[in-house]
């Protein structure tokens, strides 16, 4: 762990009791994050992205079993931290923005009350100071006539405005880590770009680390320093954004990239790629590569232990030394 490492996670595992067996939702993932850095976790629905972020915040339900070798935030061991310690971190040093701006604000309280609450919970400040800070942040996230907005209720605001309020709320205490769980998914495409740009600007300005959870690789390419591709509860490929996009090594990562059109590269009228099949069930023992049921290059050894390939920091897990890139070229 180097000086400026903010978050270190080793072998994080999340098990959910389901029916007769256990759902192995997240299986031994590792990542770390430096101050001011943006890590993007990419994957499709049900891959365990959101659970991972809730696990970091200590917001998992009681039924979910969490274990890890290391889970450290700055100098705090999140594995042994008390409820009280976790509560003092949440909204203060680590904050979160959710996917659904329409339902993530309490309908019974004004925007101002909800913004100020985060600050009043963690800092010894009066309401006047808190109000000042709320106005300042609303302006920072690009909301005009911020002062009069404080008295408004969530139902009086549009989705884009509500998500800006959510961002302002997360930033009230100047957190070291911001977790954004699909912050733009529920918004119009035009608003998506604005919100994303805003997040990037704010992380730079405040030297804040961000974990951006998304299924949109287009988003990742624009903002992330590091990428972690998640499939069925595992990180199949991790690395700095540039090499991962330039040389996607895991067959799943390449599959994901083929699903998005690239201006200038994708021919007009040409079919976009799809990944056939569905995510496998994670109930019961899961061994080998989880992607083998959908992978064009699967072979019997995929059922066994999967080696980690590549060199730090760009790594991937595949039985093929080159992630089957050569095999793919031959068929193409």
């Amino acid at each position: 762990m180097t000086e400026d490492t903010l978050l270190e996670v080793r072998n994080l595992t999340l098990d959910i009791p389901a029916g007769g067996g256990t759902l192995h939702a997240v299986r031994g993932i590792d990542f770390d994050l430096k101050r001011g850095e943006t890590l993007s976790i990419v994957g499709e629905s049900g891959s365990g992205k959101s659970l991972t972020s809730l696990a970091l915040m200590g917001l998992l339900g009681n039924s979910i079993k969490r274990s890890a070798d290391v889970m450290r935030f700055d100098d705090i061991d999140l594995l042994t931290a008390s409820r009280k310690t976790m509560r003092s971190l949440r909204g203060n040093r680590m904050a979160m923005i959710f996917q659904e701006p329409m339902t993530s604000l309490n309908p019974a309280y004004t925007i101002g009350d909800q913004l100020m609450e985060a600050l009043l919970l963690h800092r010894r400040v009066g309401r006047a100071k808190a109000r000042e800070r709320a106005v300042e942040l609303l302006e920072k996230v690009g909301i005009t006539s911020a002062g009069s907005r404080l008295g408004q209720y969530p139902h009086q605001l549009s989705g884009g405005l509500r998500q800006r309020v959510m961002i302002a709320m997360a930033l009230m205490c100047e957190p070291d880590l911001l977790i954004a769980d699909e912050p733009t998914t529920a918004l119009d495409v035009t608003i998506q770009a604005q919100i994303l740009r805003l997040l990037v600007e704010l992380t730079r300005e405040m030297n804040m680390a961000m974990i951006l959870i998304t299924h949109d690789l287009g988003v990742v390419a624009r903002v992330a320093d590091k990428v972690a591709v998640m499939y069925a509860g595992e990180l199949v490929e991790t690395g700095p954004a540039r090499p991962v996009f330039a040389r996607p090594s895991h067959p799943y990562t390449r599959g994901l990239l083929r699903c998005i059109p690239q201006p200038g590269k994708t021919a007009r009228g040409a079919d976009l790629g799809t990944i056939p099949g569905i995510v496998p069930s994670l109930i019961g023992d899961v061994t080998g590569c989880a992607f083998r049921t959908r992978c064009a290059h699967a072979q019997p050894t995929c059922r066994k232990q999967i080696p980690v390939r590549g060199e730090v920091p760009h790594q991937f897990r595949c039985v093929h030394a080159d992630g089957a890139i050569s095999a793919e070229r031959e068929t193409a």
């Binding site: 509560r87 949440r90 979160m96 959710f98 659904e100 604000l105 309490n106 309908p107 139902h155 709320m169």
Partner: protein, 305 residues
């Protein structure tokens, strides 16, 4: 908020006016009031004499107008049976009934809401099962039987509470429990369902992500949203308790308005019945209005409605 209150107030007055007309005309539809008043052995001439004496021969709209005009000034005419002004007859009885109703709903809310919240925090726990048992028992126990059991226990066996009358607060303990227990199950189940729903909502997760403690999450963020349907239900039940506490009043010999209504119907005491119907419906309308205002205060989205 003020335009909302004025709008609701206007609506309430309109409803009150309609109800007064319907309740007045219903009594005419139920048969010839003069014949009923004269009794079974009366001759045709007697009935006609009574008809003229009480003014039943005039057009109904005239009678209604006259009755309503007096009623808003607090004059409901004279009781056929007691030969007393209805207003003074009702005032005494109403005090007993209102006291009982207020105690009953307070008891119901003070037990049902905390139980419902506790049950929702830990679904399927011991406390949830206990609450479910209490509510099923509350719905299954007939009030008169439950009342009698209490009398047997506390008045006869332990002799700590008086079995009947309305002289002191101790006379109201058992009637309050019986009346309140009847209203409790619905309030409790609704509180539990509302809390379960709200506790799973996104904004509760947001509150936790902000670092709010459990108490703050439960009572500031969740309960305010979960209690809204309970407010509406409690208003209806409160109205029901005032008009429908006849059974409880009979068991404990509390001479309240419910008991008077039952007596007056049996005696064909028309002015008393009309006055009571009007007053009971006014209570309903008032409580519903108050519940609407309270809900609009709790939930800003309702203020525009």
């Amino acid at each position: 908020m003020l335009p909302f209150i004025l709008k609701r107030l206007g609506l309430a007055l309109l409803v009150a006016f309609t109800v007064s007309f319907i309740s007045f005309s219903l009594l005419f539809l139920s048969g010839d009031p003069a014949a009923a008043l004269a009794g079974e052995t009366a001759s045709g001439e007697d009935i006609e004499a009574i008809r003229t004496l009480y003014g039943f021969d005039r057009p109904m709209m005239v009678q209604y107008g006259e009755w309503l005009f007096s009623a808003v000034r607090g004059d409901f005419g004279e009781s056929y049976y007691f030969k007393l002004p209805v207003a003074s007859l009702i005032t005494d009885r109403l005090q007993v009934t209102m006291l009982l109703g207020l105690c009953g709903i307070t008891f119901a809310l003070l037990t049902a809401v905390p139980l419902g919240v506790a049950a929702a925090i830990r679904p399927n726990s011991m406390i949830d099962r206990l609450a479910l048992f209490l509510s099923v028992a509350g719905q299954a126990l007939p009030s008169f039987w439950f009342g009698l059991i209490l009398i047997v226990l506390f008045s006869i066996k332990f002799q700590i509470l008086p079995p009947s009358g309305a002289e002191s607060w101790r006379h109201f303990v058992m009637p309050t429990i019986v009346l309140g227990y009847y209203a409790m199950p619905a309030i409790m189940r609704l509180t539990r369902a509302g809390m379960l729903d709200v506790l799973n909502s996104d904004y509760i997760r947001t509150a936790r992500a902000k670092g709010a403690g459990e108490g703050r999450v439960l009572f500031k963020h969740a309960l305010r949203n979960a209690i809204i349907p309970v407010v509406s239900l409690a208003a209806v039940q409160m109205g029901f308790m005032l008009g429908g506490s006849i059974v409880v009043e009979s068991v404990f010999a509390l001479h309240g308005a419910g008991y008077l209504a039952w007596e007056s119907i049996a005696r064909n005491d028309l002015p008393t019945v009309q006055a009571l119907i009007l007053i009971f419906s006014m209570f309903y309308i008032t409580f519903t209005f108050l519940a609407d205002v309270l809900n609009a205060w709790l939930d800003p989205r309702m203020r525009s409605a």
